[in-house]
């Protein structure tokens, strides 16, 4: 992480808070040449995708700045970006929060997933090498392990990596971007559902997807992805949205 502005006062302040940040957040230092706001963005994005935030959580620029040990400036840029991706919401108060889920938003998310993700998998199929398949299997094992242990965050990270390891091979960056925005929008909600229910009851259709890939069966792959989406989203949808008292 390149650090400019090495006047005495600045340096001292940064060093002090930096130490604190390293204790609190496992934010990667980032590859060289990558801007600070990019690293902040990745850190926040991971927290949203993998269950580091709950819906409705308030987010403040100065708070994040202190937590992550940087000035508010790169935080502003990263948060602005996440707002544009609908991962965060800027309410009329000009306050930033992790958007709560609604029945309507959830329905649109499920629709989009069912529409775009099987298509991405189908487009990827011909580009998935044997080495890719082995890597995907390895990822799926970590998913199973996390499910068994009940580690929500590890499960969510593994599940994300499983899906996008496939989708990535479609070389369809525009579609990928749309789907990633969708995942960012249900990440905190999924976290809340699993936090409430646990991952023990969980089942997925990863094995069917892997088998379909191995057989180069496009139709079966789309079906497996669809089934995985429907099953998973039903699970977390029923876990939370059916209780009208626990809306947030």
């Amino acid at each position: 992480m390149s650090q400019r502005h090495t006047t005495d006062r600045t340096k001292r302040t940064l060093v002090r808070t930096r130490v604190k940040a390293e204790q609190l957040l496992p934010v990667e230092t980032g590859d060289i040449g990558v801007t600070t706001h990019e690293n902040v963005y990745r850190g926040l994005r991971d927290r949203i995708l993998f269950g580091g935030f709950l819906p409705g959580s308030a987010v403040t620029l100065r708070g994040l700045a202190e937590t992550m040990g940087v000035s508010p400036m790169p935080i502003r840029e990263a948060v602005r970006r996440l707002i544009a991706e609908r991962a965060l919401k800027l309410q009329d108060n000009r306050r930033v929060l992790v958007p709560p889920m609604t029945k309507e938003a959830f329905e649109q998310i499920v629709f989009t997933r069912k529409t775009l993700e099987p298509e991405l998998a189908a487009r990827a199929l011909d580009n998935i090498s044997d080495a890719d398949i082995r890597a995907i299997k390895t990822i799926d094992q970590t998913v199973d392990r996390a499910m068994g242990v009940g580690d929500v965050q590890a499960y969510m990270r593994g599940n994300y990596r499983f899906h996008f390891a496939i989708y990535q091979r479609a070389h369809a960056d525009i579609l990928i971007a749309l789907v990633e925005s969708i995942w960012l929008q249900f990440g905190p909600f999924m976290r809340m559902a699993y936090g409430r229910i646990g991952t023990s009851l969980l089942e997925d259709h990863h094995q069917a997807a892997i088998a379909a890939i191995e057989h180069r069966d496009r139709k079966a792959l789309k079906a497996a992805i669809t089934a995985d989406i429907v099953q998973g989203m039903n699970f977390i949808g029923e876990a939370v949205l059916k209780r009208p008292d626990l809306k947030t």
Copy 2:
């Protein structure tokens, strides 16, 4: 537009450049309570959507700041937001530009439009009032007029308003956001195509869509929207992408 920081130097500078900006750009002063970067965002967004930029155009923060008569700060936020929406691209040089179109991106854009927009229209159908229909017809007349005169920007603005006047009624903000991002990505490309070919050969399926809405015929509406997309995108696709020499 709220303006803080009214020290002498700042004020003088801002006033001077503000006059220049009003001559150059028809940027709305914006409703009260709206932030400056929001107004900047809308201005840039409109220019991208309605043909104010060509693919490959370079964009600089200080340049825009001077043109629009504001400090670079709100420009940064607006540009960051547009980059997140894929309307602008941040290349490795850390320079910002209007992204050029590729064959692959174009195909994904067409796929997404054909997938999501008829769905949006179908969802909107039951919420379109008679007054809405009249408004949509009025918009379509401005589209016809612009086509006749050959006013590319007016045509693009009208076409956008026609489609989204329908889509808005779906009350599906997540889907709308996805489609708007897509429109931002082909806006400059469409402008280039029309700038090269002109709008005289243009035809659309707006009348069929309006008729379908009046008959509350969901199937016909989806077909009309699909036909409109296919016809329009084929037109601009052939106008540009088929010439391998004029890639940009």
